[in-house]
Amino acid sequence: MEAVKQELKEKIISVLNLEDVNPEDIKDTDPLFGAGLGLDSIDALELIVMLDKDYGIKLLDPKEGKAIFESIETMAKYISENRTK
């Protein structure tokens, strides 16, 4: 799971073009949306595509993303349980 968390931090930075952020800056339990990293609804859609492309998980309803993308911790857990790639 640690490997997934590290991987996720790197992917989020590259997919969302967060030039000034380093993986070390993102804490596992920090909120990703709103406060913390300050991501928004468009970023959520980008992450949904990343889940599909890189982990084979298809989310059909964008609203599901809210709980899954709460933090690196919740994302890593969801991916570990549901990945098909």
Binding site: D40, S41, I42, L45, I48, V49, P62
Partner: protein, 399 residues
């Protein structure tokens, strides 16, 4: 009340008809134009429904009698067909008898061709001609050339409010005396670019769109073109022209909230409606029908609904979205809905908001779900686009 600018002609082609009459027949007989897609090959074809004009590009070329070497995009062809209809409907035989301009609008432009040929240009020189027709201004240029217009020609591209803005600018050019008459409207063809674009935003529905319904899932894309002919009071009197209706009010405002989503309380929408009412010199009691933007996305209908309630309080007039008939035709939406607003005024009828079952939980708004006959003096039409671009037009009856 301010009289406004006279509309003397209209033309339209959409998924529910190739002429004004055909569109009216469809609207009054629940004849819907939403179907699976035929003209474009896409991996999404089983998961989307569209308001497609069931004519191939070859058929459009033939209809316009275009020469073989032409580089008209589908957007340009639809536009030319509708614009020619409007000019004919206005009884214009010599386009340059008076100072005449064209303000068109589009969001797709020539992208329908570009996406087809993107990598092929280097292998096939006969399609190089489509490089020229990619940009937004090309479809307007083609329409201007088809009609013989030489004066002011311009194109507006503000996503889904584009045609409303074109109509607005046209009215202002007439009022300012810069033109004696102007053809105004918009055109957009279906394209993989927009289909995939809206898919990534997860706001396309795989079933028929259901505006203002609590269970709404998203929009159906559509394609269409529609144009109005606006003429100055002087010409109308001099030529004894029949006035179909008046553009009596208009307003554009920006939501300034988010690139694609509307603010929770519909700030931009509210401001646009407020501005339009002011220009028209009308009060909330004067509006008999709202043709809503009503795209059936979770966000728009909530935001627009709230804005309508803010504007009208407990006096919300009959309202409906006609997008269950035609789909959301992007830049052309406000133009086809302008034609429908005029038809509403001419025939004293409100078109139904189809597919409605469950009222939205957030407020008490019930759209008009069946065809309704009643005297109609003023119609308010909303169109809201990406980039927070909110536009409202008000059309008033010609006595």
């Amino acid at each position: 009340m301010n009289q406004g600018v006279a509309i003397t002609g209209m033309g339209i082609i959409s998924a529910i008809g190739n002429t004004v009459e055909e569109n009216f027949t469809a609207l009054t007989n629940n004849k819907v134009g939403i179907s699976t897609i035929d003209n474009i090959v896409t991996i999404h074809s089983d998961n989307i429904k569209v308001g497609e004009i069931k004519k191939t590009n070859e058929a459009l070329v033939a209809e316009l009698a275009l020469p073989p070497g032409n580089n008209f995009s589908r957007t340009a062809m639809l536009g030319a067909i509708a614009a020619k209809q409007a000019v004919k409907n206005a009884g214009i035989t010599d386009i340059n008898e008076y100072k005449t301009g064209l303000i068109s609008s589009t969001s797709v432009g020539g992208m329908d061709m570009t996406e087809r040929y993107y990598y092929e240009y280097f292998k096939n020189s006969s399609i190089l001609k489509y490089v020229e027709s990619h940009d937004g201004g090309d479809s307007s240029q083609k329409i201007a050339d088809t009609l013989g217009i030489t004066e002011i020609v311009s194109t507006i591209s503000t996503a889904c409010s584009s045609a409303a803005n074109a109509i607005m600018l046209g009215a202002r050019l007439i009022k300012a005396g810069k033109l004696d008459r102007v053809i105004v409207g918009g055109t957009d063809a279906l394209a993989k670019f927009t289909i995939n674009g809206f898919k990534t935003l997860m706001i396309l529905s795989d079933t028929d769109n259901t505006p203002f319904d609590n269970e709404r899932k998203g929009l159906n894309l559509g394609e269409a073109a529609a144009y109005l002919v606006l003429e100055s009071e002087e010409i109308v009197k001099k030529e004894g022209k029949k006035v179909l209706a008046y553009v009596s009010g208009y307003g554009n405002a920006n939501d300034a909230f988010h690139q694609t989503a509307s603010s929770e309380n519909g700030d931009g929408a509210f401001l646009a409606m407020q501005k339009a009412m002011k220009v028209a010199g009308l009060g909330v009691d004067d509006i008999d029908y709202i043709n809503a933007h009503g795209t059936a996305t979770p966000n728009n209908d909530l935001s627009e609904g709230r804005a309508i309630i803010r504007m009208f309080g407990d006096k919300v007039p009959d309202f409906s979205s006609t997008k269950p008939f035609t789909g959301h035709t992007l830049a052309a939406a406000a133009a086809i809905e302008a034609v429908y607003s005029v038809l509403s005024l001419q025939n004293n009828v409100i078109f139904p908001n189809l597919n409605f079952k469950t009222p939205m939980s957030e407020f008490d708004l019930l759209p008009q779900t069946s065809l309704k006959h009643k005297p109609i003096q003023h119609v308010l039409s909303n169109s809201f686009g990406f980039g927070g671009n909110c536009s409202t037009l008000i059309f008033s009856k010609s006595e």
